[in-house]
Every structure is written in structure tokens, then in C-alpha cells.
Amino acid sequence: MKYFTSALWAETLKARCSKVPLISAIGFSLAAVVDGLFMIILKDPEAAKQMGLISTKAQLMAGVADWPTFFNILGQAIAVGGAIVFAVITAWVFGREFSDRTVKEFLALPTSRGAIITAKFVVVAAWTMGLSLLVFGLGLVIGNAVDIPGWSQDLLRSSTVDVLGAAVLTILLLPFVALAASLGRGYLPAFGWAILTVALAQIAAVMGWGDWFPWAVPALFSGAAGPRAELLGLHSLMVVGLACALGLAATYLWWQKADQTR
């Protein structure tokens, strides 16, 4: 436990001293800001007509300016945007050891590789969950500031489950990003993996088997494509859990067994 605590301290320090947390927070906060902007546009159709492309997009995505629509867009942004932003964070946490050539410094230590990898996953989970909560909280502030109708405590409860549930499901799929960063020994393979899974998730959803494709599940869970009960089943959550377990196991195994030549 002492060694895990040390590894967690080290990973936290590395994250804290870099600019990536700030950049990711600013970047991800745009989801709530843009969501609020859509609501402003939708509240005033006359102004919307004068705003060209943004107005058209806002009409396509939403339609009405109210809290259900606001939460719907936020959930979708966290599910899809999170797949990219969270992947960037994971790629950075794992891939930087190769880019900075520091990987060789933690392979022959009393602290096991397993403890270090666990610490990395804990930091990624805390960081991405923190970002999700930040964006959700910011969304509530912006929604209130824009003063859209349709608020209720029930809606808040169900939307919290939709939005943060989508975030948790997205986070559960990050071990494969960590595996891609480890196997590819750097950032780029992990970015490639993230983009590939986002694209495949869209295809899977369109073809109607998104409930079986782990990377399509978070967006479907957010309620963006319709009522969750019609789109997903228990098996959908199970495939996400299975993907998470497989990703974790493969990442740990790789760090234990792979030759480290960098």
C-alpha cells in the first residue's frame, strides 16, 4: 500500500505540474458553454435566423430551448466529446512516459509496475470524472443564467444519471486507450484508437447494433438518440464492463511482460 500511495503521489504531481489539466478543463468546458449558446439561439428564433450556420446546427440538434434539451445536448457532448478529451488525457498519462523517455526509470524499482499502472488509472479516472462533474456543474450554472424553462427536481435526478452515467461508461472504456498508448509507445496510436472507436460507434449506432458495441453505448445511454430503455439493455452495460476488464487485463499484462527497449 505504501508503494501504491507513493506511485499515486508521483502521478498526481506529474499531472498537477503540467498544463494538460488546465487545457483539458478549458476545452471540455466548451461543451457547457456551447450548449448554453444553443439555448440562447433557440430562445429567440429571429436572432437565430441572423446567425447563419450556428443557428442551423442548433435547430438540427435541438429544436426547443428547455432544460430537457439542454441536458440532452450536454449528455451527448460528454459522451462523444469525452471519448476524445478523455482519450487525450489517458494517452498523455500513459504515452508521456515514452515520449519523455522516462519509462525506463520506473521499471526496476521496489514499487511494482502494477502499482504504478494502477496509480495511473486512478489518476485518469479521478481526472476525467472531475472534468465530467465540472462540465455538468458549469452546465447547471449556464442553464440557470440563460433562464430556460422546464426545470424540475425529477429532471435533475434523471439527467444526472444520464449525463454522469454516460461519463462513467466513457471512462470505463479508457483502458483500451491506455493499452494503445502502451503498445504504440506514445500518444499517436492512442489518438488513432479514440478516433477509430468514435467513428465505429457512429456506424454501429446507425446499423442498429450499437447496444452490442461498447464504444456506442455511452452516447446511447445519454439519451441523445432516444429513450435509453429502447436502445440499450443489461447486455450493453455488460459489454462495456467486459471491454473495461479486457483493457485493464491487457494493459497490466503488457507492462509485466513486454520488452522495454526505450
Binding site: K14, C17, T102, E105
Partner: protein
């Protein structure tokens, strides 16, 4: 004898490439073992296998009488290492980089970081981000990380890399001091003079195989001067020199007579006069001292 490093048939193959081929390495406790080889000879691969970073294809490695690996197991609390070029987290200061190492080594002594910073003359750079350090100071940081936990065994890959001449001397003295305290050191280097000055034993690796080990006596012999004599009739010259009390040995490869007697090296003109009087005048006479570099280059086929 207790060995700090002991390998048996250690091999690493990448397809048909034998990066390390059946290396039997034994480094005694307290030795400074110089590990020499050309680029791609297998030095770094051997070091990585010793540190459990690469799994051997065959054979085994023991450090401080504990088997290395699988799964990265080893006596790492007692081993310090510096592998290839030094690296550090560029956003963190020198002190923070070392603090990470201290904690990952499970060391309770919080003063260890300041002490090693002082020891490696890194005090002016302690609070500077590692990304702004010069190559030499980054190397010092790498060495500080290796020494932080006062290891019994140091495995250093090119420890003098990037250091200025004063730094090279400083690190040499530091390592010599550690060896006097009983620390075992295995160091690879391209700077053969450094290895020659510091090492108590040298291993030469070539194309993955440990082709020669030189102990202290052999190294001393290499440093010894000798008089090389060439003549048209080497046999007659050898007879004349032997009759005069010189120990002239025939070196067939170089078609020369080799005389190691101090009086011959001090007065080669006497040898010349003797040979002329014996009717077998020398065609070439020269005092030579083979250094480690020449020996190494000839052994590895670079010098013919």
C-alpha cells in the same frame, strides 16, 4: 566467491539477430567492471536484461544473489541504474524528479534528496525544471537518481555521457570513492580511457558475445611498454638478443620480436648496436605501448 552480478548463458534473440549470445558474466562484490563494445555490440541490451526491462530468450541473471524477473522482480531497492541517455519529467524540477524516485524507492529519509543534489553538484539547478537542464546536468540528475538510495550495486550505461572534462573527473572520483566503500559498479562506456582508469576488470562484448575479459594484471600488462624489433632474419636477431640476456619473444602476427626488459626500453640504441654487430641489423625499432583502445579495436576487428 559472492558475485554482485552473475549471468549464465544469457541470450537475447530478435529473430535471427543474436543481440546477446550466451553471455556468462560474473562481477564480484566491490569490483568496478568496465563493459566495452562497439555500437550495437549488445551492451545496452545486456544491461536492460540485467535490470529486468527485457526478458532473456535463454539463460538467467542474478543480481546480489537474487534472480531477476520474470515480471520485473529483482533486488531493486539495492540496485541503482542509469540506462542510455538520461531522462526526466521536463515539467518537474530537479528536486521533484528526485522526490518521485525517493518515494518510489520507499525511502523514509526525506533528506536524501538534498544530500544527493549536493553530492552531484546540482544545488544551483535544484529548483529548475528538468526540461531546461543542459545535457551534462541531465546526466548528473540521472546519476543522482541512481545514487539516491545508496545502492550496493550500480549499473551505469555511459555514465560520462554529456559531461564536460571537469565533470568527467568529478564523476570518476565519485565512482572510485563509492567503490572504495564497497559498492559494486558495472559501467559501459565508449570513453575507453575512462574505463581504463577506473575499472578493476573489463569485459569486451562483440556481436553479442563476451569475447574477452581482462583482469587487473592483464590490463597492467597492456599498459606496459615494449620494444618492437624487426629484422630481415628474425631468428638470427632473436638468437643474438637472447645471447645478450634479453628476453626477445617472436610475435609472428606482426613479424617482430618483442622485448619487455626495462634496459631494452631505456636504451634501444644498445639493442640496435648489438644487432648490427651480430650482422642482423634492425629494419625497424620502436618502443610501443598498447593501450586499451588499440587492444579493443584490434579485438573487435576495427584495427587489423
Amino acid at each position: 566467491m559472492n558475485y554482485a552480478i552473475e549471468t549464465s548463458g544469457l541470450s537475447k534473440f530478435y529473430g535471427d539477430v543474436h543481440a546477446v549470445d550466451a553471455v556468462d558474466l560474473r562481477v564480484g562484490v566491490g569490483e568496478i567492471y568496465g563493459f566495452l563494445g562497439l555500437n550495437g555490440a549488445g551492451k545496452t541490451t545486456t544491461i536492460r536484461v540485467l535490470l529486468g526491462m527485457i526478458a532473456p530468450s535463454a539463460g538467467s541473471a542474478c543480481l546480489l544473489e537474487q534472480a531477476v524477473g520474470p515480471d520485473g522482480r529483482g533486488p531493486w531497492a539495492r540496485v541503482g541504474h542509469l540506462v542510455e541517455s538520461p531522462s526526466a519529467y521536463p515539467d518537474l524540477t530537479t528536486r521533484e524528479n528526485l522526490e518521485i524516485s525517493r518515494r518510489l524507492h520507499g525511502m523514509a529519509d526525506a533528506g536524501a534528496v538534498s544530500r544527493v543534489i549536493e553530492q552531484l553538484s546540482l544545488s544551483p539547478y535544484a529548483d529548475r525544471k528538468a526540461g531546461t537542464l543542459s545535457m551534462g546536468n541531465l546526466q548528473r540528475l540521472g546519476l543522482a537518481r541512481a545514487l539516491l538510495h545508496r545502492p550496493e550495486l550500480l549499473i551505469l550505461d555511459e555514465p560520462a555521457n554529456g559531461l564536460d572534462p571537469a565533470g568527467v573527473v568529478e564523476i570518476r572520483e565519485l565512482l572510485a570513492g563509492l567503490a572504495r566503500e564497497g559498492v559494486t559498479i558495472l559501467m559501459s562506456s565508449h570513453i575507453l580511457t575512462e574505463v581504463d582508469r577506473l575499472a578493476t576488470r573489463i569485459g569486451i562484448i562483440h556481436q553479442g558475445r563476451l569475447i574477452e575479459e581482462l583482469d587487473a594484471d592483464t590490463m597492467e600488462e597492456l599498459r606496459a611498454q615494449r620494444l618492437m624489433v624487426q629484422a630481415r632474419d628474425l631468428s638470427a636477431a632473436q638468437t643474438a638478443l637472447t645471447a645478450a640476456g634479453y628476453s626477445a619473444e617472436l610475435d609472428r602476427a606482426r613479424e617482430s620480436l618483442v622485448i619487455k626488459d626495462a634496459r631494452a626500453i631505456a636504451a634501444p640504441d644498445e639493442v640496435a648496436r648489438l644487432l648490427v654487430e651480430a650482422g642482423t641489423a634492425p629494419t625497424r625499432l620502436g618502443v610501443e605501448q598498447e593501450n586499451l583502445e588499440e587492444h579493443f579495436l584490434r579485438l573487435t576487428g576495427v584495427l587489423k
